[in-house]
Each structure stands twice: as structure tokens, then as C-alpha cells.
Amino acid sequence: MKRSLFYSLAILFFLFPAILLGLKSVTPIWRWGEPLSFNWTLRGWTSFWMDDRILHALWLSLLIALTVTLINLAVGMMAGKALSHSSFKGKSMLETLLLLPLFVPAMAAAIGLHITMIRLGLANHWTGVVIVHLVPTIPYTIKIMKAGYDRLGSDLIDQSRMLKAGPFRTFREIELPLLLPSVRSAVFLVVTISMSQYVLTAIIGGGSVITLPIIYYPFLQSVDDTVMAAFSIVFAILPVFAVLIIELISRFFITKNSFFNRGAV
């Protein structure tokens, strides 16, 4: 009973819209009141691919999202571990402080950062965009990684150290594999957030950093829902693709018989 309910809801709310979106991208525009006709068209996809900025935008979005993710993981893991496993004065204060960027409107942060970025020469460049994408993502990653380290506890890390493994080996062979579920959630969240930033990218990128949303949003105003559907599909697939890349990297890093792990001497 419960299972059938789950499946029917999943079909209704996830599968059905996805199929509809796929169909929409290969059928012409249909206006209310027109007689129902069923024709195929590749116009949505061709006009999407014909835009010569698309490939570059795809690549740039991916590059920015992955860079943001890697920085997020590095910062999030270190901060999360410190917040979870060590005790120091003002810890809860710091924890709150690290969450604050979520409560400041992103616009306010972006405008403030813009001036600094111009001074540093990072404005209108993808690296500047990477930095500004950290604002709405880092707090989440720290939170997720702290929960991950809370769950992991410090005992297994102590045990690894007692078996004479150094910090790097402990991290690679114990912490990272056991934190993988947290890493996955963080990656998915960060990639999705980064890839859907329009305002932050527009302000700091100054129109010369063209990511997918920058091209995508103007299309929203058109009524051409065939092209929109094609766009949306690519937009939804991109984060999955990015997550796959991170997954592959972590596999390579963790695999038991990987290059790093083939026994010293």
C-alpha cells in the first residue's frame, strides 16, 4: 500500500513532468484552442545548438561549478572537522557566523564584493564568479560536513593513528570513504546552486562570463516553449554530469588498489 502510493506519487510528480518535458522539446508550439495535432520537430534542439555561445557556456558552467565544488569540499571538510571534533572558546558563535551568509540577501553581498573584485581585477572573469558562488554554497557544505564528522566520530580516526597511519593516509583511507555520503550530498547541492546562479554571475561576470543561466534566462521571456524545454533538459542533466565527474574523481582517489595505495617499498 505504502509502496504503491510512493510509486504513484513519484510517477505523478517526477516521471510525468520529465517525460512531458522531453516530448515538449521535440514537438512544435501548441497554443490554447488550436486543434490537437502531433508533429515532430527538432527545431528546439537545433536552435539550442545553433547558438554559438552554447558550447562555451556549457563548458564554463561546468568549470565554474566544479571549481566551486572542490573549494567547497576543501573548506567544508576542514571547517566541519574542526567544528565537530575540537572544542574551543566561541565555537557555537563561529558556527553561527559561518551560517550568516545565508541570511544576507545575495544581492547585498554581491554588490559589496563587486567593488573588491574590481580592485583585485577579478571582476568580469570566471575566477571572480567562482568566488562569489562560494557565498551561497559554503555555509551548506560546512553544515553537511560537520554533520558527517559528527556521525563519523573521532574514535576511528584515533584508531587509525594508533596503527601508525599519518594524517593524509587516515584522511584518504578512513575519513573520505566513510564521509562519501556527506560528500555526495554536498556536491549535488553545490553544483545545483552554482549552476542556477543568474544574478551573482551577471553582476560579477559583468556580461563577459557567459554561463548557461545567462543565456537561458532571456529565453524565458520568449513564448517558444519548444526551445525552452530543450534548454531545461540540458540544464537538468548538467548537474548530474558534474556529480558523475566528482564521483569518478573520488573513486580514483579512494580505490583500494589505486596508484597511491600500492604499498610503499
Binding site: 596503527l163 597511519a165 566513510l178 610503499a264
Partner: protein, 331 residues
């Protein structure tokens, strides 16, 4: 005097103004097992963590084979440790767990071969490729011990390794651990709050209470000759009469009324709790009225007519009263 294999000199640990333990002096010969016994919360685990390097001593030194090692990093200390929980790495198989420390000094292949040989020699090779979650608690703790032993530490620390097991598994595992440690001629420090366990495993015993080592020595000797009230309370079966004298429980008797107490005795008011039977003997559980402490005395008489909570006396003959031998702190 021959220099000890392992020694602690004046070791102390404080957190801020709180002293966990102080002026701890211990020494161990090679291949010897010392049980450190004491009530919970006296810093036994902290002492081991300091020796291991997971925490640092506030003052004092630790030496092994004449070399001071308390300044070394954890991974450079010749010390292994088994914790209260087995702490097997859940994402690695039993074999991978066992050779985790070994892989640091030898190739993956020879580590694997050595791990298999070791597991075979202790009869645990059927679990080689299992993951820890499919093993029972006792088996997990066995694997944890092997994982610590296989890297051949010069000193092994055992932090209440049986405390997470049920009594039957516990008993079984204790004998096995003792046998294995002796076979490997391992020098070990074993921490427990269980007196029986400390006797079973240790060649020597040290009583840690109130942040200090109260007494060290041969288990039987310490049991019969406690040097002060802490040693008496935590290790011996003795009733502390005052700061200088005590009586062993087996010399103490129960009387329901004052008239039945013989002459030349010391008596204390007590409250009857109940009577239990173990190993063919019967024991009276009473509570001393003055100090509110419980004690168990062997009592042949049947007192089933005594109601729990009713008042009476415990008494001991003057000639059985003993003096704490304070001179003899370290036998």
C-alpha cells in the same frame, strides 16, 4: 637495579585547574602485563591516551627501553592500543582491517600474506573477507586485538577491551587474550574497573584511585595486604575501620542482637540487606549504618528470618584487626 623496560615518571594530567591524575610512577619488565584497576572516572583511559600520544601529559615522562618517547608524535611511538569498542573500519574487510597498519612497512602483497597467516594461526581465517558488521562483538574485539598485535608494538595498551561484551563472551575472551599476549611475549598495560579481570590478566596490579597510584604489586599480595583505605576499598575485600586499621571481610561476622557478640571484638552497627549464594558459599549483604557503605561478608549461618532493612551488627575479633602497612606502597 636493572632498568625497567617501560616506565612512567611523575606523569600528571590536568585540564585547566582540574587534576585528572598526578605523580604516576610505574615500571614494567619486558613481557609483563600490568593491570591498572580503579573506579570509573579516575582517569585510567586518559592515562592510556597520554601514553599513546592521543593526548599529552601535563608533566612527567614516559620511557621505553631507556628512551624517553613522550615528545614523539602518535605514529612515531612504539605503542599500540585496543579501545573499549572494537573500532574496526566498517568499509574494509576483516583482512584489510588486520593489515591496515602492516601496509605501512611492507608491500600490499606481503602484508596480505602475513595477515592471512596470522589469522589462520588464531583460527579466525574463516572471516577473512567478511565485513565487520557481520561479526559478533566478541569476534570484532578479537580482530581488533590482532590488528594491534600484528604490527608488533613494543608496548600494548588495552583500554577496557571487554566492557562492551556480555559476561559469557567476556570470560571466554579474557583467557584468549591472556594466552595470546603471553604467546607474543607482549608487554602490556591493561586498564579495567573489574577486579576479577585485573587478577586474571595481570602479572602485576596497580590500583589507581583519587588520581594516584595507591598500590602496586602481585595481585594476591595486594588483595591480602592493602596499604590504605583506597586500596582496601577498590581491591581487597576489607572493611575499613578507620584510617589505620581494617578487617578482611572473611573475618567479619553478622549478629542480629548485641548480646550474641563475643568479647574482645570490635563491632559496627549495620543494616541487613539480603543473602546470596555463589560457588557453594553463602554471603550476607549488609550496609554499614555509619558510613552507608555496602559490604559482602561470607556468612555460613542462615538468616532467612532477618527482614531486609532490620538493624544488627557486624563484628570482628580484636586479634583479626589489621594495620595498613603504609611503608609498603610498592611491593
Amino acid at each position: 637495579m636493572k632498568e625497567a623496560y617501560f616506565s612512567l615518571e611523575g606523569a600528571a594530567k590536568t585540564y585547566g585547574s582540574k587534576t585528572i591524575f598526578q605523580s604516576i610512577n610505574l615500571s614494567l619488565n619486558e613481557g609483563e602485563i600490568l593491570s591498572i584497576v580503579g573506579p570509573s572516572g579516575t582517569g585510567k583511559s586518559t592515562l592510556l591516551r597520554c601514553i599513546a600520544g592521543l593526548e599529552s601529559f601535563s608533566s612527567g615522562h614516559a620511557n621505553l627501553q631507556g628512551k624517553q618517547f613522550d615528545g614523539y608524535k602518535v605514529q612515531d611511538r612504539p605503542v599500540g592500543m585496543v579501545f573499549q569498542q572494537p573500532l574496526l573500519f566498517p568499509h574494509l574487510t576483516v583482512l584489510e582491517n588486520v593489515i591496515y597498519g602492516l601496509k605501512l612497512t611492507m608491500s600490499h602483497r606481503s602484508a596480505k600474506a602475513e595477515g592471512i597467516t596470522y589469522l589462520k594461526s588464531v583460527g579466525l581465517d574463516e572471516y577473512l573477507n567478511e565485513y565487520p558488521h557481520s561479526l559478533s562483538g566478541g569476534q570484532q574485539q578479537r580482530i581488533a586485538l590482532i590488528r594491534a598485535l600484528i604490527v608488533k608494538p613494543k608496548l600494548l595498551l588495552l583500554d577496557e577491551p571487554f566492557s562492551s561484551l556480555d559476561p559469557d563472551r567476556r570470560r571466554e575472551l579474557r583467557d584468549w587474550v591472556r594466552m595470546l599476549l603471553k604467546e607474543e611475549r607482549m608487554t602490556a598495560l591493561f586498564v579495567t574497573h573489574d577486579r576479577e579481570e585485573s587478577m586474571l590478566l595481570g602479572d602485576k596490579v596497580a590500583i589507581l584511585a583519587e588520581g594516584k597510584i595507591q598500590q602496586t604489586g602481585d595481585p594476591k599480595h595486594v588483595y591480602e595486604n592493602p596499604v590504605n583505605e583506597y586500596a582496601a576499598r577498590h581491591y581487597a575485600d576489607a572493611i575499613v575501620l578507620n584510617e589505620t586499621i581494617y578487617a578482611l571481610n572473611h573475618d567479619v561476622k553478622w549478629s542480629t542482637s548485641h548480646e550474641t557478640i563475643p568479647e574482645d571484638t570490635i563491632s559496627l552497627k549495620a543494616e541487613w540487606i539480603n543473602q546470596t549464594y555463589q560457588y557453594g558459599e553463602s554471603y550476607a549483604h549488609v550496609k554499614l549504618v555509619e558510613t552507608n557503605r555496602r559490604c559482602i561478608i561470607p556468612e555460613k549461618g542462615h538468616f532467612s528470618y532477618v527482614k531486609p532493612g532490620s538493624r544488627g551488627f557486624i563484628w570482628v575479633k580484636q586479634r583479626d584487626v589489621r594495620l595498613f602497612d603504609k611503608e609498603q606502597v610498592n611491593e
